[in-house]
Symmetry: C2
Subunit: 200 residues, 2 copies
């Protein structure tokens, strides 16, 4: 006798594996997670995982791709918007913070990609996208200098790196914490400090 209350379909199964893997990779990194754990957490057997993803690296790869789409897609749009450079930085910061708050498990996994031990083949794409993000930042700041919004002595490359570093740092702080610390107000405040500096 088969219980027809338990309806199964491929989408749910794949999605469950996907989420379980994201959760586990976020917690312990690629090598810290076994296929057995993923299978237990997602409620399917190991061969099912291979049926959908082909290999352990296969899951990881798909996770990276999804993350790239989710995080970076909005940045190019913001770049083209008509608003002061400083506001663009604030909006980007807010977007990024919102993502970390809304999808903590996924964001945590995603953040592990920027660590130094990145031999993984799946990360080539990610690194390229991260560089693109860096260039967008540089462009925004450079535009801000040209329009007189930022001081002429500002170094766009350095400033972009600093902003990227600050983003990364605060998102990690959020992911390590239980409370919500990444608010829109904080995003505003951070850009404000970087804009005005400490001496005024």
């Amino acid at each position: 006798m088969h219980n027809h209350l338990e309806t199964k379909n491929s989408h749910d199964t794949k999605e469950n594996i996907f989420l379980a893997a994201a959760h586990l990779f976020a917690k312990r990194g690629y090598n810290g997670v076994s296929m057995r754990e993923i299978s237990e957490k997602s409620g399917v057997t190991k061969p099912t995982i291979y049926y959908y993803f082909g290999s352990k690296e296969g899951i990881y790869h798909e996770l990276v791709d999804t993350g790239i789409q989710h995080v970076f897609s909005s940045f190019e749009t913001i770049l083209k918007d008509k608003m002061p450079a400083k506001d663009k930085l604030v909006v980007m910061t807010k977007k990024l913070f919102q993502f970390a708050v809304d999808y903590p498990e996924f964001a945590k996994f995603f953040m592990t990609l920027v660590t130094p031990f990145t031999d993984n083949a799946a990360l080539v794409k990610f690194k390229k996208e991260a560089e693109k993000r860096g260039r967008i930042l540089v462009t925004i700041i450079r535009t801000g200098i040209e329009s007189g919004e930022f001081g002429a002595s500002a170094n766009p490359e350095l400033a972009a790196k600093i902003i990227g570093g600050v983003w990364q740092h605060f998102i990690w702080q959020q992911l390590a914490s239980q409370k919500k610390i990444l608010t829109d107000e904080l995003a505003q405040e951070i850009i404000e400090i970087l804009f005005k500096g400490l001496n005024e």
Copy 2:
């Protein structure tokens, strides 16, 4: 026949294991490295490693402790020095950058500790020290505000977090790169940007 040109002593053996482990952990993280690899790289057999360190976690633990001493010891001294707050920040930044340049393997390992997957018991101590470092930064900035060096509206806690984040980011950049990018001049420049801000 034994070759007496190869003199061995216990200190060298332990040191070799230590350095090999630091190198490997830095490259691939705790779970990405096996005891077999450490033994091969250090030129001793596995049981010798167990003789000196007891377990895989044992090496890791000792690595963390040494790192903490090396990196954070100078900070308390700088805090007590008689110089402008801004100069203190510059000196601390230079010290940190110098460490990353001089001991890249070790620094790389050390940087892996700030990633989100930190279930490891060895990291409790590290986290405490990192918090202490944060408090030192806050104290310096607060002193700078009181003496009128920094603007009265500055938020010391937030500024300290930003500086910590920027440090972390640039050290990682260095460790991922072949060229020397962390110079004393860059340290100066970074603090300058944070001090003056982007708009002047």
